[in-house]
């Protein structure tokens, strides 16, 4: 592949290639459908022979995320990937990383649940991802790609955000985007940071003392006063992230009377629903949150004031719906169209839901 060449590949493959290209230092993962191609692609590519990136098939997702915790604690750009049941197992490591302020990237190619559920796509981990997911008061940055191109593009972005704020970042994808093939331009190669660069950019990291005072990375303190201040520091950081890092995309909202809010693959399907509805003369637009946390609350609140109704289209029982309602605060009716269990809504269904639940009602 040459620079800027358009290639055809799966979302999962794009993640793997983008990781190698964006200077990722290590990948640690355990196989699970529908994302095993990420580890398989890395194993085929053998980046340890080219960029020096470490690739380990771990014994479990618990081990994977704790490897990410360890690697991130030394200032390296490290990541893992999994699908819903595996990410459930990772919550221990994610909350430790949030507490000890360790950067790292987790890719979740979601499938349906609860439990072992199904290997078919789902967006059922919205709550888990945006509410923290593990114990304690914390949030992680959540990016929701809606195309194979965004799978590739968000890899470097996720690392940048994770290191800027010393926090775990999740790329919340799903089985559709992971498995579908699309045209993609992979990001250009960027060298891995040298140990000197890491030591300079991450003076907090456990790299060995290297002539400075020793660094201790922990989430523990038995002193409630200290722990409260630490929590306040985390909350202050989350406020800055909410003010600075909200990302979303709008489609045809200028003249819209109705709004669809959808993320990831549900947004791709909703795009087609909007075409159908516009063809019938319904003035409908879309807001696609790209960051699910921080959520584009202010913009949705603003749009809600001039809408006749908002439809949330999700591949779950209505999880983002809560955040939309909190943003709308009753300014207009909010309805849901959601499918579960691995079933994916069609554009026709979404269009019909908007007609029936918002226009007729």
């Amino acid at each position: 592949m040459t620079e800027n060449e358009v290639v055809l590949m799966k979302g999962n493959e794009a993640i793997a290639h983008a990781a190698i290209r964006c200077g990722c230092d290590g990948y640690f993962g355990y196989p699970i459908t529908p994302q095993s191609e990420i580890l398989e692609t890395l194993a085929l590519e053998k980046p340890w022979e080219t960029t020096g990136m470490v690739v380990v098939q771990a014994e479990s997702e618990l081990a994977s995320i704790n490897m990410v915790y360890g690697g991130g604690a030394t200032g390296k750009r490290v990541m893992t990937s999994s699908s819903s049941p595996g990410v459930a197992l990772m919550q221990e490591g994610i909350t430790y990383m949030a507490g000890a302020e360790i950067p790292g990237v987790i890719v979740n190619v979601q499938r349906g649940g609860p439990g072992l559920g199904t290997i078919q796509p789902s967006q059922g981990d919205y709550f888990q991802s945006t509410r923290g997911g593990g114990n304690g008061d914390y949030n992680v940055i959540v990016l929701a790609p809606a195309s194979v191109q965004e799978m590739a593009d968000f890899m470097d972005l996720a690392f940048q955000l994770a290191f800027r704020y010393r926090t775990p970042a999740i790329i919340l994808s799903d089985g559709i985007i992971g498995q579908m093939m699309e045209k993609v331009v992979l990001p250009p190669y960027k060298p891995r940071r040298t140990d000197e660069e890491v030591a300079r950019e991450c003076p907090w990291a456990a790299t060995g003392r290297r002539g400075r005072r020793n660094n201790i990375l922990t989430s523990l303190s038995l002193d409630p006063g200290f722990m409260e201040r630490h929590n306040e520091h985390l909350q202050q950081k989350y406020r800055v992230i909410r003010e600075t890092e909200v990302r979303y995309e709008e489609l045809l909202t200028d003249d819209a009377e109705y709004l669809i809010v959808a993320f990831g693959s549900a947004a791709r399907i909703s795009q087609k629903a909007i075409e159908l509805l516009r063809h019938e003369g319904v003035r409908v637009g879309m807001l696609r949150p790209i960051t699910l946390w921080p959520f584009p609350t202010p913009r949705i609140a603003e749009l809600a004031r001039r809408m006749k109704g908002i439809l949330c289209a999700e591949i779950n029982s209505g999880q983002m719906l809560d955040d939309v309602r909190l943003a709308v605060e009753g300014a207009c009716p909010v309805a849901l169209h959601g499918r579960m269990g691995g079933m994916v809504p069609t554009p026709e269904e979404i269009a019909a839901a908007l007609r029936e639940k918002l226009i007729k009602g």
Partner: protein, 263 residues
């Protein structure tokens, strides 16, 4: 003689290693943790690797190991220290990377992480404090609690039908292809302390020379958990623990190699 006259370099017979700071230790009197901490500090100093050492502390009484030794530390989740160490060592091959874990941490909740790290042959050293009890949480049954031994969760003594058998994880470790050095030591006498110091040094050397995984078990006391005085605890350990957990090397590939070369 005044105090000042006594405190003279010429009169020095014992000193604590520089790496150990003056923070008051939270360990109970007679606890093995403190002794092993000191040995680790001594070995790191001796080897001259203070600036390139990363320690991984466990969840257990030694969770605060990072408060006492002035090296870089990462505090792991309960049982996961070997997973962290695996990544740290692979990303920093020149570093001395060791974990420090109790029996509950290493041989119960973290069994999978322990076995797979050892079996992968991660170039790390694991220091394993086996006191046959959960010290930190107040003396509950551990995977290594001896048959008949009383703890707060087996108050009538450990019995096989209810609790299964004490786990000899070090014997399992010796069977794994990825380990290069597996040994069981103690710190109840000066001679034992010296042997443990040598064992830790060997394990750390293996880590720096990429020979595979090393496991140093230290059969230890927990006077508080066992509800004994420090002296009683040492005596009880020798009488009851050593027969089930016999001291000595279980595996040493380096010696094997050297003797093979000599033949």
């Amino acid at each position: 003689m005044t105090r000042e006259e006594i405190i003279q370099p010429g009169n020095l017979v014992y000193r604590k290693p520089e790496l150990m700071n003056d923070n008051p230790m939270h360990y109970c009197p007679g606890c093995s943790h403190g002794v092993v901490h000191k040995l680790i500090a001594e070995v790191i100093e001796e080897m001259g690797v203070t600036e390139r050492t990363v320690g991984i502390s466990p969840v257990g009484c030694a969770v605060f190991a990072y408060n006492y030794l002035d090296i870089d530390w990462i505090e792991a989740a309960h049982g996961r220290a070997p997973a962290l160490a695996c990544a740290v060592k692979r990303l920093h091959p020149d570093q001395l990377v060791f974990t420090y874990q109790g029996d509950g941490d290493l041989a119960c909740i973290g069994t999978a992480e322990t076995i797979h790290s050892l079996n992968r042959g991660d170039d790390i050293a694991i220091i394993f404090i086996n006191n046959a009890i959960y010290g930190m949480t107040g003396g509950q049954m551990a995977p290594t609690t001896l048959m008949g031994m009383k703890t707060s969760t087996c108050p009538y003594g450990r019995q096989s039908d209810l609790h299964g058998f004490p786990l000899k994880i070090t014997e399992i470790a010796a069977q794994l292809e990825g380990t290069c050095y597996v040994t069981r030591q103690a710190v109840h006498t000066v001679a034992a302390i010296n042997r443990t110091r040598k064992a830790i040094r060997r394990a750390f050397q293996n880590c720096l020379e990429h020979r595979g995984a090393s496991l140093v078990e230290v059969v230890s006391t927990c006077s508080s958990g066992w509800k004994m005085s420090p002296t009683e605890a040492n005596r009880w350990m020798a009488e009851h623990m050593f027969p089930y957990y016999p001291l000595g090397d279980l595996k040493d590939n380096l010696t094997k190699q050297n003797s093979a070369a000599a033949e």
